[in-house]
Amino acid sequence: MPDAALEDLYREILLDHYRNPRHHGHLDAANHKADGANPLCGDQITIEATVNADGRIEDIAFSGAGCSISQASSSMMTVYVAGHTTAEALRAVETFQQMMLTGEAPSTAEQDLGDIEALAGVAKFPVRVKCASLAWKTLQQALQSQTAAAVTTDERSE
Protein backbone atom coordinates (compact mmCIF):
# COMPACT_ATOMS: atom_id res chain seq x y z
CA MET A 1 0.00 0.00 0.00
CA PRO A 2 1.37 3.39 -0.90
CA ASP A 3 -0.42 5.14 1.88
CA ALA A 4 0.17 4.87 5.60
CA ALA A 5 -3.30 6.25 6.34
CA LEU A 6 -4.77 3.38 4.37
CA GLU A 7 -2.86 0.86 6.44
CA ASP A 8 -4.13 2.62 9.49
CA LEU A 9 -7.68 2.23 8.17
CA TYR A 10 -7.37 -1.40 7.22
CA ARG A 11 -5.55 -2.77 10.26
CA GLU A 12 -4.71 -6.48 10.20
CA ILE A 13 -7.10 -7.26 13.07
CA LEU A 14 -9.89 -5.59 11.15
CA LEU A 15 -9.18 -7.59 8.00
CA ASP A 16 -9.13 -10.71 10.14
CA HIS A 17 -12.63 -10.02 11.47
CA TYR A 18 -13.77 -9.24 7.93
CA ARG A 19 -12.41 -12.51 6.59
CA ASN A 20 -13.53 -14.59 9.58
CA PRO A 21 -16.53 -12.87 11.09
CA ARG A 22 -17.47 -13.95 14.63
CA HIS A 23 -21.07 -14.33 15.80
CA HIS A 24 -22.27 -14.26 12.20
CA GLY A 25 -25.74 -15.70 11.64
CA HIS A 26 -29.05 -15.85 13.48
CA LEU A 27 -30.27 -16.73 16.98
CA ASP A 28 -33.16 -19.09 17.71
CA ALA A 29 -34.27 -17.37 20.87
CA ALA A 30 -33.52 -13.70 20.30
CA ASN A 31 -35.63 -11.29 22.31
CA HIS A 32 -34.03 -8.15 20.88
CA LYS A 33 -33.61 -7.37 17.23
CA ALA A 34 -32.98 -4.41 14.92
CA ASP A 35 -32.13 -3.79 11.27
CA GLY A 36 -29.69 -1.13 10.15
CA ALA A 37 -28.81 0.20 6.72
CA ASN A 38 -26.33 2.57 5.19
CA PRO A 39 -27.88 3.31 1.78
CA LEU A 40 -24.84 5.16 0.46
CA CYS A 41 -22.71 2.04 0.30
CA GLY A 42 -25.45 -0.55 0.52
CA ASP A 43 -24.46 -1.87 3.97
CA GLN A 44 -27.23 -3.82 5.62
CA ILE A 45 -27.12 -5.41 9.02
CA THR A 46 -29.45 -7.24 11.36
CA ILE A 47 -28.58 -7.64 15.00
CA GLU A 48 -30.24 -10.21 17.21
CA ALA A 49 -29.60 -10.58 20.91
CA THR A 50 -30.76 -12.77 23.76
CA VAL A 51 -30.86 -10.77 26.96
CA ASN A 52 -31.59 -12.64 30.20
CA ALA A 53 -33.67 -11.52 33.18
CA ASP A 54 -30.60 -9.91 34.78
CA GLY A 55 -30.10 -7.71 31.75
CA ARG A 56 -27.06 -9.63 30.57
CA ILE A 57 -26.45 -10.29 26.85
CA GLU A 58 -26.26 -14.08 26.77
CA ASP A 59 -25.93 -14.36 23.05
CA ILE A 60 -25.66 -12.05 20.08
CA ALA A 61 -25.46 -12.46 16.31
CA PHE A 62 -25.23 -10.26 13.28
CA SER A 63 -26.15 -10.91 9.66
CA GLY A 64 -26.24 -8.87 6.49
CA ALA A 65 -23.77 -7.64 3.94
CA GLY A 66 -21.50 -4.68 3.74
CA CYS A 67 -18.03 -3.31 3.28
CA SER A 68 -15.02 -4.53 5.25
CA ILE A 69 -15.30 -1.74 7.79
CA SER A 70 -18.96 -2.35 8.60
CA GLN A 71 -18.54 -6.13 8.70
CA ALA A 72 -15.42 -6.03 10.84
CA SER A 73 -16.94 -3.48 13.17
CA SER A 74 -20.02 -5.69 13.55
CA SER A 75 -17.93 -8.75 14.29
CA MET A 76 -15.75 -6.95 16.83
CA MET A 77 -18.76 -5.39 18.46
CA THR A 78 -20.45 -8.77 19.01
CA VAL A 79 -17.30 -10.23 20.53
CA TYR A 80 -17.08 -7.30 22.91
CA VAL A 81 -20.68 -7.09 24.12
CA ALA A 82 -21.39 -10.82 24.49
CA GLY A 83 -21.56 -11.50 28.23
CA HIS A 84 -21.84 -7.83 29.17
CA THR A 85 -24.97 -6.24 30.57
CA THR A 86 -27.10 -4.06 28.31
CA ALA A 87 -26.07 -1.03 30.39
CA GLU A 88 -22.40 -1.81 29.77
CA ALA A 89 -23.07 -2.40 26.08
CA LEU A 90 -24.87 0.93 25.74
CA ARG A 91 -21.95 2.66 27.46
CA ALA A 92 -19.62 0.99 24.97
CA VAL A 93 -21.75 2.37 22.13
CA GLU A 94 -21.14 5.85 23.48
CA THR A 95 -17.44 5.25 23.93
CA PHE A 96 -17.25 3.95 20.39
CA GLN A 97 -19.06 6.96 18.97
CA GLN A 98 -16.73 9.23 20.91
CA MET A 99 -13.78 7.41 19.38
CA MET A 100 -15.24 8.00 15.90
CA LEU A 101 -15.46 11.70 16.65
CA THR A 102 -11.98 12.14 18.07
CA GLY A 103 -9.98 9.40 16.37
CA GLU A 104 -8.49 8.65 19.79
CA ALA A 105 -8.78 5.41 21.71
CA PRO A 106 -10.57 5.90 25.06
CA SER A 107 -8.22 7.00 27.82
CA THR A 108 -9.65 5.32 30.92
CA ALA A 109 -9.39 1.64 31.82
CA GLU A 110 -13.11 1.16 32.33
CA GLN A 111 -13.73 2.47 28.82
CA ASP A 112 -11.21 0.08 27.32
CA LEU A 113 -12.58 -1.36 24.08
CA GLY A 114 -9.70 -3.78 23.46
CA ASP A 115 -9.21 -4.77 19.81
CA ILE A 116 -11.97 -2.42 18.77
CA GLU A 117 -9.59 0.47 19.27
CA ALA A 118 -8.01 -0.60 15.97
CA LEU A 119 -11.03 1.12 14.41
CA ALA A 120 -9.91 4.54 15.69
CA GLY A 121 -8.10 5.07 12.36
CA VAL A 122 -11.48 5.15 10.59
CA ALA A 123 -12.11 8.61 12.06
CA LYS A 124 -9.68 10.00 9.47
CA PHE A 125 -12.05 8.87 6.72
CA PRO A 126 -15.31 10.70 7.42
CA VAL A 127 -17.29 8.73 4.80
CA ARG A 128 -16.31 5.48 6.45
CA VAL A 129 -17.32 6.53 9.96
CA LYS A 130 -20.88 5.65 9.00
CA CYS A 131 -19.77 2.18 7.96
CA ALA A 132 -18.00 1.61 11.28
CA SER A 133 -20.84 3.08 13.33
CA LEU A 134 -23.69 1.14 11.75
CA ALA A 135 -23.30 -1.97 13.93
CA TRP A 136 -23.19 0.12 17.09
CA LYS A 137 -26.18 2.27 16.25
CA THR A 138 -28.11 -0.84 15.35
CA LEU A 139 -27.06 -2.52 18.60
CA GLN A 140 -28.32 0.50 20.51
CA GLN A 141 -31.61 0.25 18.67
CA ALA A 142 -31.87 -3.47 19.29
CA LEU A 143 -31.21 -3.16 23.02
CA GLN A 144 -33.58 -0.26 23.48
CA SER A 145 -36.51 -1.93 21.77
CA GLN A 146 -37.89 -5.41 21.97
CA THR A 147 -39.61 -5.15 18.64
CA ALA A 148 -37.88 -4.99 15.30
CA ALA A 149 -36.61 -1.53 14.49
CA ALA A 150 -34.81 -0.01 11.56
CA VAL A 151 -31.85 2.34 11.55
CA THR A 152 -31.00 4.25 8.41
CA THR A 153 -28.15 6.62 7.92
CA ASP A 154 -28.81 9.49 5.61
CA GLU A 155 -28.17 9.22 1.92
CA ARG A 156 -26.12 11.41 -0.35
CA SER A 157 -27.17 11.59 -3.95
CA GLU A 158 -25.01 11.63 -6.98
Binding site: P2, A5, L15, R19, C41, S68, I69, E158
Partner: protein, 436 residues
Protein backbone atom coordinates in the same frame (compact mmCIF):
# COMPACT_ATOMS: atom_id res chain seq x y z
CA UNK B 1 -23.16 41.75 -28.88
CA UNK B 2 -22.10 45.20 -27.85
CA UNK B 3 -18.65 44.24 -26.75
CA UNK B 4 -16.15 41.72 -27.95
CA UNK B 5 -15.01 40.36 -24.61
CA UNK B 6 -17.48 37.49 -24.70
CA UNK B 7 -15.60 36.06 -27.65
CA UNK B 8 -12.26 36.34 -25.98
CA UNK B 9 -11.81 32.99 -24.29
CA UNK B 10 -9.16 32.13 -21.75
CA UNK B 11 -7.43 29.82 -24.20
CA UNK B 12 -7.85 28.45 -27.66
CA UNK B 13 -10.69 26.05 -28.10
CA UNK B 14 -8.74 24.40 -30.82
CA UNK B 15 -7.47 20.92 -30.21
CA UNK B 16 -8.47 19.33 -33.44
CA UNK B 17 -8.03 19.99 -37.11
CA UNK B 18 -10.59 21.57 -39.37
CA UNK B 19 -12.31 18.24 -39.93
CA UNK B 20 -13.11 17.80 -36.24
CA UNK B 21 -16.68 16.90 -37.01
CA UNK B 22 -15.73 14.06 -39.26
CA UNK B 23 -13.37 12.03 -37.17
CA UNK B 24 -10.91 11.49 -34.40
CA UNK B 25 -7.86 11.67 -36.66
CA UNK B 26 -6.56 14.91 -35.21
CA UNK B 27 -7.72 14.35 -31.65
CA UNK B 28 -5.06 15.51 -29.23
CA UNK B 29 -5.67 14.41 -25.66
CA UNK B 30 -2.42 15.93 -24.40
CA UNK B 31 -3.46 19.34 -25.65
CA UNK B 32 -6.93 18.91 -24.11
CA UNK B 33 -5.38 17.96 -20.77
CA UNK B 34 -3.46 21.23 -20.66
CA UNK B 35 -6.81 23.02 -20.39
CA UNK B 36 -7.73 21.16 -17.19
CA UNK B 37 -5.48 22.40 -14.37
CA UNK B 38 -7.03 20.01 -11.85
CA UNK B 39 -5.53 17.05 -13.72
CA UNK B 40 -2.09 18.15 -12.54
CA UNK B 41 -3.18 17.74 -8.96
CA UNK B 42 -1.76 15.11 -6.68
CA UNK B 43 -4.00 12.97 -4.49
CA UNK B 44 -2.46 10.89 -1.71
CA UNK B 45 0.98 11.48 -3.12
CA UNK B 46 0.20 10.34 -6.66
CA UNK B 47 -1.12 12.01 -9.79
CA UNK B 48 -4.93 12.30 -9.84
CA UNK B 49 -6.66 9.92 -12.22
CA UNK B 50 -10.17 11.28 -12.45
CA UNK B 51 -12.61 8.58 -13.54
CA UNK B 52 -15.82 9.83 -11.95
CA UNK B 53 -17.05 11.78 -14.94
CA UNK B 54 -20.55 10.35 -14.88
CA UNK B 55 -20.98 12.10 -11.52
CA UNK B 56 -19.54 15.39 -12.71
CA UNK B 57 -16.89 16.41 -15.23
CA UNK B 58 -13.89 18.63 -14.65
CA UNK B 59 -13.89 22.18 -16.07
CA UNK B 60 -11.45 23.64 -18.58
CA UNK B 61 -9.67 26.95 -17.92
CA UNK B 62 -11.82 28.57 -20.61
CA UNK B 63 -14.99 27.90 -18.58
CA UNK B 64 -13.40 28.96 -15.32
CA UNK B 65 -12.11 32.15 -16.97
CA UNK B 66 -15.50 33.01 -18.41
CA UNK B 67 -17.09 32.81 -14.97
CA UNK B 68 -14.57 35.30 -13.61
CA UNK B 69 -14.79 37.51 -16.67
CA UNK B 70 -18.52 37.93 -16.25
CA UNK B 71 -18.20 38.97 -12.62
CA UNK B 72 -15.18 41.17 -13.33
CA UNK B 73 -16.25 42.91 -16.52
CA UNK B 74 -20.00 42.95 -17.08
CA UNK B 75 -21.86 41.70 -14.03
CA UNK B 76 -25.43 43.04 -14.14
CA UNK B 77 -28.94 41.76 -13.90
CA UNK B 78 -30.49 40.79 -17.19
CA UNK B 79 -33.71 41.60 -19.07
CA UNK B 80 -34.34 44.71 -17.06
CA UNK B 81 -31.70 47.35 -17.55
CA UNK B 82 -31.13 49.93 -20.23
CA UNK B 83 -27.56 50.35 -19.18
CA UNK B 84 -24.62 48.90 -21.05
CA UNK B 85 -23.64 46.20 -18.57
CA UNK B 86 -27.16 44.83 -18.41
CA UNK B 87 -27.34 44.74 -22.17
CA UNK B 88 -24.05 42.90 -22.40
CA UNK B 89 -25.05 40.40 -19.75
CA UNK B 90 -28.43 39.88 -21.40
CA UNK B 91 -26.82 39.35 -24.79
CA UNK B 92 -24.36 36.83 -23.36
CA UNK B 93 -27.06 34.97 -21.44
CA UNK B 94 -29.45 34.81 -24.38
CA UNK B 95 -26.57 33.93 -26.67
CA UNK B 96 -26.10 30.73 -24.72
CA UNK B 97 -29.70 29.80 -25.44
CA UNK B 98 -28.88 30.02 -29.13
CA UNK B 99 -25.70 27.98 -28.74
CA UNK B 100 -27.50 25.24 -26.89
CA UNK B 101 -30.33 25.21 -29.41
CA UNK B 102 -27.78 24.63 -32.17
CA UNK B 103 -25.93 22.05 -30.08
CA UNK B 104 -29.01 19.82 -29.73
CA UNK B 105 -30.67 20.65 -33.03
CA UNK B 106 -33.56 22.61 -31.51
CA UNK B 107 -35.61 24.63 -34.00
CA UNK B 108 -35.61 27.82 -31.95
CA UNK B 109 -33.69 29.19 -28.97
CA UNK B 110 -36.94 29.93 -27.10
CA UNK B 111 -37.30 26.19 -26.67
CA UNK B 112 -34.33 26.20 -24.25
CA UNK B 113 -35.38 26.70 -20.64
CA UNK B 114 -32.69 27.15 -18.02
CA UNK B 115 -33.07 25.16 -14.81
CA UNK B 116 -30.68 24.25 -12.02
CA UNK B 117 -30.00 20.75 -13.33
CA UNK B 118 -31.57 17.69 -14.92
CA UNK B 119 -33.53 16.94 -11.78
CA UNK B 120 -35.20 20.34 -11.81
CA UNK B 121 -35.91 20.04 -15.54
CA UNK B 122 -37.72 16.73 -15.03
CA UNK B 123 -39.60 18.12 -12.05
CA UNK B 124 -40.61 21.12 -14.15
CA UNK B 125 -42.34 18.79 -16.61
CA UNK B 126 -43.92 16.84 -13.76
CA UNK B 127 -45.25 20.02 -12.17
CA UNK B 128 -46.48 21.80 -15.26
CA UNK B 129 -47.09 19.63 -18.32
CA UNK B 130 -48.01 16.50 -16.38
CA UNK B 131 -50.30 18.22 -13.89
CA UNK B 132 -52.09 20.02 -16.70
CA UNK B 133 -52.42 17.00 -18.96
CA UNK B 134 -52.63 13.81 -16.94
CA UNK B 135 -55.55 12.31 -15.11
CA UNK B 136 -56.16 9.36 -12.84
CA UNK B 137 -55.68 6.15 -14.76
CA UNK B 138 -53.28 7.63 -17.30
CA UNK B 139 -49.99 5.79 -17.57
CA UNK B 140 -46.43 7.03 -17.31
CA UNK B 141 -43.83 4.63 -18.58
CA UNK B 142 -40.24 4.76 -17.36
CA UNK B 143 -37.61 2.03 -17.09
CA UNK B 144 -35.75 0.12 -14.42
CA UNK B 145 -32.54 1.73 -15.65
CA UNK B 146 -33.56 5.23 -14.59
CA UNK B 147 -31.69 7.51 -12.24
CA UNK B 148 -33.73 8.36 -9.13
CA UNK B 149 -34.38 11.81 -10.56
CA UNK B 150 -36.43 10.21 -13.33
CA UNK B 151 -38.32 7.96 -10.91
CA UNK B 152 -39.17 9.93 -7.80
CA UNK B 153 -41.00 12.88 -9.46
CA UNK B 154 -43.30 10.39 -11.19
CA UNK B 155 -43.91 8.41 -8.01
CA UNK B 156 -44.89 11.66 -6.30
CA UNK B 157 -47.24 12.50 -9.14
CA UNK B 158 -48.68 8.98 -9.08
CA UNK B 159 -49.43 9.26 -5.38
CA UNK B 160 -50.97 12.67 -5.79
CA UNK B 161 -52.99 12.07 -8.95
CA UNK B 162 -53.72 8.37 -9.15
CA UNK B 163 -51.59 8.02 -12.24
CA UNK B 164 -50.24 4.57 -13.07
CA UNK B 165 -46.44 4.27 -13.18
CA UNK B 166 -44.99 1.40 -15.19
CA UNK B 167 -41.42 0.26 -15.70
CA UNK B 168 -39.81 -1.23 -18.78
CA UNK B 169 -37.83 -4.11 -17.28
CA UNK B 170 -34.11 -4.30 -17.65
CA UNK B 171 -32.34 -7.51 -18.62
CA UNK B 172 -29.30 -8.87 -16.80
CA UNK B 173 -26.99 -7.47 -19.49
CA UNK B 174 -28.14 -3.95 -18.72
CA UNK B 175 -30.30 -3.51 -21.83
CA UNK B 176 -34.03 -2.92 -21.80
CA UNK B 177 -36.49 -5.71 -22.54
CA UNK B 178 -37.79 -4.27 -25.79
CA UNK B 179 -40.34 -7.05 -26.27
CA UNK B 180 -41.99 -6.16 -22.98
CA UNK B 181 -41.62 -2.46 -23.79
CA UNK B 182 -43.78 -3.01 -26.88
CA UNK B 183 -46.52 -4.58 -24.79
CA UNK B 184 -46.35 -1.83 -22.17
CA UNK B 185 -46.74 1.05 -24.60
CA UNK B 186 -50.44 1.37 -25.29
CA UNK B 187 -53.33 3.79 -25.64
CA UNK B 188 -53.22 4.65 -21.93
CA UNK B 189 -49.55 5.64 -22.13
CA UNK B 190 -49.44 9.42 -21.92
CA UNK B 191 -45.77 9.92 -21.15
CA UNK B 192 -42.65 7.92 -21.86
CA UNK B 193 -39.79 9.26 -19.73
CA UNK B 194 -36.59 7.48 -20.54
CA UNK B 195 -32.86 7.88 -20.10
CA UNK B 196 -30.66 8.27 -23.15
CA UNK B 197 -27.84 6.43 -21.41
CA UNK B 198 -27.70 4.58 -18.10
CA UNK B 199 -25.46 6.30 -15.58
CA UNK B 200 -25.00 3.08 -13.62
CA UNK B 201 -24.04 0.74 -16.48
CA UNK B 202 -23.43 2.93 -19.52
CA UNK B 203 -26.09 1.29 -21.69
CA UNK B 204 -27.10 3.49 -24.63
CA UNK B 205 -30.87 3.18 -24.92
CA UNK B 206 -32.66 2.89 -28.30
CA UNK B 207 -34.55 6.08 -27.53
CA UNK B 208 -35.76 6.65 -31.08
CA UNK B 209 -37.30 3.20 -31.33
CA UNK B 210 -39.14 3.65 -28.03
CA UNK B 211 -40.17 7.19 -28.93
CA UNK B 212 -41.70 6.01 -32.21
CA UNK B 213 -43.73 3.38 -30.35
CA UNK B 214 -44.88 5.97 -27.82
CA UNK B 215 -45.72 8.57 -30.44
CA UNK B 216 -47.78 6.01 -32.35
CA UNK B 217 -49.98 5.88 -29.24
CA UNK B 218 -50.11 9.66 -28.95
CA UNK B 219 -47.81 9.81 -25.93
CA UNK B 220 -45.26 12.51 -25.16
CA UNK B 221 -41.59 11.56 -24.82
CA UNK B 222 -39.21 13.02 -22.24
CA UNK B 223 -35.58 12.05 -22.62
CA UNK B 224 -33.26 12.23 -19.61
CA UNK B 225 -30.12 13.40 -21.37
CA UNK B 226 -27.99 13.85 -18.24
CA UNK B 227 -25.58 11.17 -19.48
CA UNK B 228 -26.43 11.23 -23.17
CA UNK B 229 -25.97 14.89 -24.10
CA UNK B 230 -22.44 15.20 -22.61
CA UNK B 231 -21.16 12.12 -24.42
CA UNK B 232 -23.21 11.49 -27.57
CA UNK B 233 -24.08 13.73 -30.51
CA UNK B 234 -27.70 14.53 -29.71
CA UNK B 235 -30.30 15.90 -32.09
CA UNK B 236 -33.73 16.30 -30.53
CA UNK B 237 -35.53 15.49 -33.78
CA UNK B 238 -33.38 12.46 -34.55
CA UNK B 239 -33.97 10.90 -31.13
CA UNK B 240 -37.69 11.66 -31.26
CA UNK B 241 -37.86 13.67 -28.06
CA UNK B 242 -40.60 16.10 -27.04
CA UNK B 243 -38.66 17.12 -23.93
CA UNK B 244 -34.95 16.75 -23.19
CA UNK B 245 -33.33 17.37 -19.81
CA UNK B 246 -29.59 17.72 -19.09
CA UNK B 247 -27.06 19.30 -16.72
CA UNK B 248 -24.09 21.56 -17.51
CA UNK B 249 -21.88 20.14 -14.77
CA UNK B 250 -21.53 16.78 -16.49
CA UNK B 251 -20.36 18.43 -19.72
CA UNK B 252 -17.51 20.76 -18.72
CA UNK B 253 -19.86 23.45 -17.43
CA UNK B 254 -20.48 24.80 -13.94
CA UNK B 255 -22.78 23.29 -11.35
CA UNK B 256 -26.14 24.94 -10.79
CA UNK B 257 -27.24 25.17 -14.40
CA UNK B 258 -29.25 22.75 -16.47
CA UNK B 259 -31.58 22.71 -19.43
CA UNK B 260 -35.08 21.65 -20.27
CA UNK B 261 -35.69 21.65 -23.99
CA UNK B 262 -39.28 21.25 -25.12
CA UNK B 263 -41.16 21.50 -28.39
CA UNK B 264 -42.41 25.07 -28.66
CA UNK B 265 -46.09 24.19 -28.98
CA UNK B 266 -45.94 22.08 -25.83
CA UNK B 267 -44.14 24.78 -23.86
CA UNK B 268 -46.57 27.43 -25.02
CA UNK B 269 -49.55 25.44 -23.78
CA UNK B 270 -47.98 24.66 -20.41
CA UNK B 271 -48.73 26.60 -17.23
CA UNK B 272 -45.76 28.31 -15.56
CA UNK B 273 -43.55 26.56 -13.01
CA UNK B 274 -42.76 29.08 -10.28
CA UNK B 275 -44.26 32.52 -9.83
CA UNK B 276 -42.26 35.71 -9.51
CA UNK B 277 -40.35 38.30 -11.44
CA UNK B 278 -39.36 37.83 -15.07
CA UNK B 279 -42.04 35.22 -15.69
CA UNK B 280 -44.89 37.71 -16.01
CA UNK B 281 -45.94 40.31 -18.54
CA UNK B 282 -48.04 42.34 -16.16
CA UNK B 283 -49.19 42.09 -12.60
CA UNK B 284 -52.19 43.79 -11.09
CA UNK B 285 -53.46 43.29 -7.57
CA UNK B 286 -55.94 40.77 -8.95
CA UNK B 287 -53.97 38.78 -11.45
CA UNK B 288 -50.96 38.39 -13.67
CA UNK B 289 -50.42 37.51 -17.27
CA UNK B 290 -47.61 35.15 -18.14
CA UNK B 291 -44.57 36.11 -20.07
CA UNK B 292 -43.69 34.27 -23.28
CA UNK B 293 -41.78 31.03 -23.55
CA UNK B 294 -39.10 30.52 -22.23
CA UNK B 295 -39.31 33.37 -19.69
CA UNK B 296 -42.59 32.00 -18.36
CA UNK B 297 -40.52 29.19 -16.85
CA UNK B 298 -37.62 31.24 -15.54
CA UNK B 299 -38.97 33.11 -12.54
CA UNK B 300 -36.60 35.41 -10.71
CA UNK B 301 -33.00 36.34 -11.41
CA UNK B 302 -31.46 33.30 -13.08
CA UNK B 303 -28.02 31.81 -12.71
CA UNK B 304 -26.45 34.27 -15.12
CA UNK B 305 -22.76 33.58 -14.52
CA UNK B 306 -23.00 29.82 -14.75
CA UNK B 307 -25.21 30.01 -17.82
CA UNK B 308 -22.67 32.18 -19.61
CA UNK B 309 -19.83 29.86 -18.63
CA UNK B 310 -21.93 26.91 -19.79
CA UNK B 311 -21.91 28.56 -23.21
CA UNK B 312 -18.12 28.34 -23.18
CA UNK B 313 -18.34 24.64 -22.32
CA UNK B 314 -20.66 24.14 -25.31
CA UNK B 315 -18.12 25.96 -27.50
CA UNK B 316 -15.41 23.65 -26.23
CA UNK B 317 -17.35 20.48 -26.96
CA UNK B 318 -18.54 21.80 -30.32
CA UNK B 319 -14.96 22.49 -31.37
CA UNK B 320 -14.02 18.91 -30.52
CA UNK B 321 -17.11 17.51 -32.20
CA UNK B 322 -19.42 15.18 -30.31
CA UNK B 323 -18.79 12.27 -32.66
CA UNK B 324 -15.09 12.54 -31.88
CA UNK B 325 -15.86 12.77 -28.15
CA UNK B 326 -17.84 9.54 -28.33
CA UNK B 327 -15.16 7.85 -30.41
CA UNK B 328 -12.47 8.80 -27.89
CA UNK B 329 -14.52 7.38 -25.03
CA UNK B 330 -15.37 4.21 -26.94
CA UNK B 331 -11.70 3.67 -27.60
CA UNK B 332 -10.87 4.09 -23.90
CA UNK B 333 -13.74 1.87 -22.82
CA UNK B 334 -12.72 -0.87 -25.23
CA UNK B 335 -9.15 -0.71 -23.96
CA UNK B 336 -10.34 -0.74 -20.34
CA UNK B 337 -12.72 -3.67 -20.89
CA UNK B 338 -9.98 -5.70 -22.58
CA UNK B 339 -7.62 -5.12 -19.66
CA UNK B 340 -10.07 -5.31 -16.76
CA UNK B 341 -11.55 -8.72 -17.71
CA UNK B 342 -8.26 -10.31 -16.65
CA UNK B 343 -8.44 -9.00 -13.07
CA UNK B 344 -9.11 -12.02 -10.81
CA UNK B 345 -12.66 -12.22 -9.46
CA UNK B 346 -14.02 -9.33 -11.52
CA UNK B 347 -17.59 -9.08 -12.78
CA UNK B 348 -18.22 -6.38 -15.37
CA UNK B 349 -21.79 -5.18 -15.80
CA UNK B 350 -23.49 -3.79 -18.88
CA UNK B 351 -24.06 -4.91 -22.45
CA UNK B 352 -21.68 -7.25 -24.28
CA UNK B 353 -22.23 -5.24 -27.44
CA UNK B 354 -19.75 -2.40 -27.14
CA UNK B 355 -21.50 -0.32 -29.77
CA UNK B 356 -24.32 0.34 -27.29
CA UNK B 357 -22.06 1.32 -24.40
CA UNK B 358 -21.00 4.79 -23.36
CA UNK B 359 -17.75 5.40 -21.49
CA UNK B 360 -18.86 3.74 -18.26
CA UNK B 361 -17.30 0.64 -16.71
CA UNK B 362 -19.28 -0.71 -13.77
CA UNK B 363 -17.75 -3.68 -11.99
CA UNK B 364 -17.46 -5.65 -8.79
CA UNK B 365 -14.79 -7.91 -7.31
CA UNK B 366 -15.65 -11.21 -5.61
CA UNK B 367 -16.00 -10.76 -1.88
CA UNK B 368 -14.82 -7.15 -1.91
CA UNK B 369 -17.34 -4.42 -1.30
CA UNK B 370 -17.28 -1.56 -3.84
CA UNK B 371 -16.74 0.90 -1.02
CA UNK B 372 -13.47 -0.84 -0.19
CA UNK B 373 -12.52 -0.85 -3.86
CA UNK B 374 -13.11 2.90 -4.03
CA UNK B 375 -11.08 3.49 -0.90
CA UNK B 376 -8.01 1.58 -2.06
CA UNK B 377 -8.22 3.09 -5.56
CA UNK B 378 -8.30 6.54 -3.97
CA UNK B 379 -5.06 5.76 -2.18
CA UNK B 380 -3.62 5.32 -5.69
CA UNK B 381 -5.05 8.66 -6.76
CA UNK B 382 -7.82 7.01 -8.79
CA UNK B 383 -11.23 8.64 -8.32
CA UNK B 384 -14.15 6.35 -9.11
CA UNK B 385 -17.67 6.06 -7.77
CA UNK B 386 -18.73 3.26 -5.45
CA UNK B 387 -22.37 2.84 -4.59
CA UNK B 388 -25.79 2.42 -6.13
CA UNK B 389 -25.32 5.45 -8.41
CA UNK B 390 -28.80 6.74 -7.53
CA UNK B 391 -30.16 3.83 -9.53
CA UNK B 392 -31.31 1.42 -6.85
CA UNK B 393 -33.74 -0.43 -9.16
CA UNK B 394 -30.74 -1.34 -11.36
CA UNK B 395 -28.91 -2.74 -8.34
CA UNK B 396 -32.03 -4.62 -7.23
CA UNK B 397 -32.38 -6.15 -10.68
CA UNK B 398 -28.74 -7.30 -10.64
CA UNK B 399 -29.20 -8.39 -7.00
CA UNK B 400 -26.14 -6.48 -5.84
CA UNK B 401 -25.93 -3.68 -3.25
CA UNK B 402 -23.58 -1.52 -5.28
CA UNK B 403 -20.91 -1.44 -7.96
CA UNK B 404 -17.63 0.33 -8.51
CA UNK B 405 -17.86 2.57 -11.55
CA UNK B 406 -15.14 4.16 -13.66
CA UNK B 407 -16.40 6.67 -16.22
CA UNK B 408 -14.39 8.41 -18.90
CA UNK B 409 -14.30 11.77 -20.62
CA UNK B 410 -12.35 13.73 -23.20
CA UNK B 411 -9.21 14.16 -21.09
CA UNK B 412 -8.73 10.56 -20.00
CA UNK B 413 -5.93 8.46 -21.45
CA UNK B 414 -4.95 4.83 -21.90
CA UNK B 415 -2.16 5.41 -19.37
CA UNK B 416 -4.83 6.34 -16.84
CA UNK B 417 -6.69 3.14 -17.65
CA UNK B 418 -3.43 1.30 -16.94
CA UNK B 419 -3.27 2.97 -13.52
CA UNK B 420 -6.86 1.89 -12.88
CA UNK B 421 -6.12 -1.71 -13.84
CA UNK B 422 -2.96 -1.91 -11.74
CA UNK B 423 -4.68 -0.34 -8.74
CA UNK B 424 -7.63 -2.73 -9.09
CA UNK B 425 -5.20 -5.64 -9.03
CA UNK B 426 -3.76 -4.13 -5.83
CA UNK B 427 -7.25 -4.15 -4.34
CA UNK B 428 -7.55 -7.87 -5.06
CA UNK B 429 -4.13 -8.53 -3.52
CA UNK B 430 -4.95 -6.43 -0.47
CA UNK B 431 -8.27 -8.09 0.31
CA UNK B 432 -7.23 -11.42 -1.17
CA UNK B 433 -8.48 -14.57 0.47
CA UNK B 434 -11.72 -12.99 1.54
CA UNK B 435 -14.77 -15.25 1.42
CA UNK B 436 -17.36 -14.17 -1.12
Amino acid sequence: MTSNHMHDHGGDVNHVGADAMTGIRDWNTESIRRDFPILKREVNGTRLVYLDNAATSQKPVQVIAELTRYYRDYNANIHRGVHTLSQEATAAYEGVREKIARFIGAKRPEEIIFTRNTTEAINLVAHTWARANLQAGDEILISELEHHSNIVPWQMLRDERGIVLKYIPMLQDGTLDMAVARTLIGPKTKLLSITQMSNALGTIIPVRELADLAHAQGAIVLVDGAQGVPHLATDVTAIGADFLAFSAHKMLGPTGIGVLWGRYALLEAMPPFMGGGDMILSVTMEQSTWNDVPHKFEAGTPNIADTIAFGTAIDYLSALGMDAVHQHESDLLGYALDRMVDVPGITIYGPEDRSIRGGVLSFSLDGIHPHDIGQVLDSHGVAIRAGHHCAQPVMACLEIPATARASFYIYNTREEVDVLVDATREVVRFFGGVHA
